[in-house]
Symmetry: C2
Subunit: 243 residues, 2 copies
Amino acid sequence: MRLLIAEDDKLHRSFLEDVANDTFADLAEMTLTSDGEGAIEAFKSAQYDCVILDLQMPKMTGVEVAKSIWARAPATKILFWSNYTEEAYIRGITKIVPAAAVYGYILKSAPEEQLKLALQGVFVAEQCVIDREVRGVQQRAGNRLSGLSELEYEALVDLCLGLTDKAMAARRNVSLRGAQSRLQSLYQKLGLEKGDIPSSDWGPSFNSRTRAISIAMTRGILNADALRREEEMLMSWLSAKSH
Amino acid sequence: MRLLIAEDDKLHRSFLEDVANDTFADLAEMTLTSDGEGAIEAFKSAQYDCVILDLQMPKMTGVEVAKSIWARAPATKILFWSNYTEEAYIRGITKIVPAAAVYGYILKSAPEEQLKLALQGVFVAEQCVIDREVRGVQQRAGNRLSGLSELEYEALVDLCLGLTDKAMAARRNVSLRGAQSRLQSLYQKLGLEKGDIPSSDWGPSFNSRTRAISIAMTRGILNADALRREEEMLMSWLSAKSH
DNA sequence: AGCAGTTCTGCGGGAACCCGCAACATCCCC
DNA sequence: GGGGATGTTGCGGGTTCCCGCAGAACTGCT
């Protein structure tokens, strides 16, 4: 077994190293990296069949690293090992996981025992091991009623970036009304009914536009990290637009 | 010396324990807790002169814990030990630190050597030890030109919570135009000039209201955690308003 | 007192936004 | 081919927002 580990926190990294050494007797090689670029480079120079990834690393998300790895070798088994159950990451993962790929998702707060089980399950037994809590979020996100569709998610991103309706329309190639329509269904999904707050005396307390952002951020549908990445994508689109 | 440590990540916690044991020979007592409530309770039942706090813990921020501790015993020496340099936390700290209090702020990413130095500096030599990076943010926040005034910060909070102008006016006890005026100066401070994006052909690309939120979040002036706390304060104000 | 700096206020107009209504266009499934 | 679900588009009007102008209040400093 050849194992690659990417984790920026040095304590967590050496912890993973210890547990891996403890769990597997047949480790042909183990490589440790502290960021996404390092992981991708390491994977290019030598093939690994098992990978442990921290989501939330400087510069590059674990999700992006996984995407690059799976693009090169779809059979690679990946265990995601993260701090929180941010919906932003979970959505990203379920979007890039290949058809029959083996992967796992476990939280850092879980006891060591569970981590060992996950390592065994994903890397040896080749089964998907998803933490209960994560599973819950994943299911909600996939649910047609409570989760956001791809289009609604796009609208949310544009909204959080601070675009106007007109700009959204231009970016997504729809009419102005089309963009507004997407916003409307987004508001509905996020639960922005008029009677949210029991009818205050000084009129409507919430501005749908900004309230939607507030809800998205507190629920973790989008986080500051994802926002920074989306900002970059917006900028590159902007410069491409002006040929 | 009597030392209290609050840190939710168990790896980091035991690391702190080791380093503290390693650094100080005269430890009369050391208590470890994994959340804010535990720390406050521990501090009530037995006096400590030195405290290490993680910001960003579940339910209660290290900032709130520090506030409670300093309210009870202003001479307590506190070392903040955090992941990132979120302006949200730094602003909170500088707001609650008593006149002549001794404290320090060091990042988890710093090498062990620096942590030891900070422990010595704050707890023994009784000097303030602030990480360079943090110091930079702190200074920018205090600067009249680039940093936000208290009023502008309030406006930002209300904005990010999704309130309407009218609701802000009601909450802050100013006229409608007053609230809008605060927003205007906020926009200006955040750098929302009209020519931000080089004059796109399809009109103004950014909605000031949402763009301001975007900038605040990516810069870390406000984070999801702080937002959730502010949300609670808003709700309690709301229910108080309707007696 | 005088003066600068900051904040609050009303007024008014132009722009942006929210959304109900109604008409299509797809696509899928029975 | 007839529902059904989903997504797009135009129209219209009521609301909210953004902001320039100008005056008033309040601070701290000389």
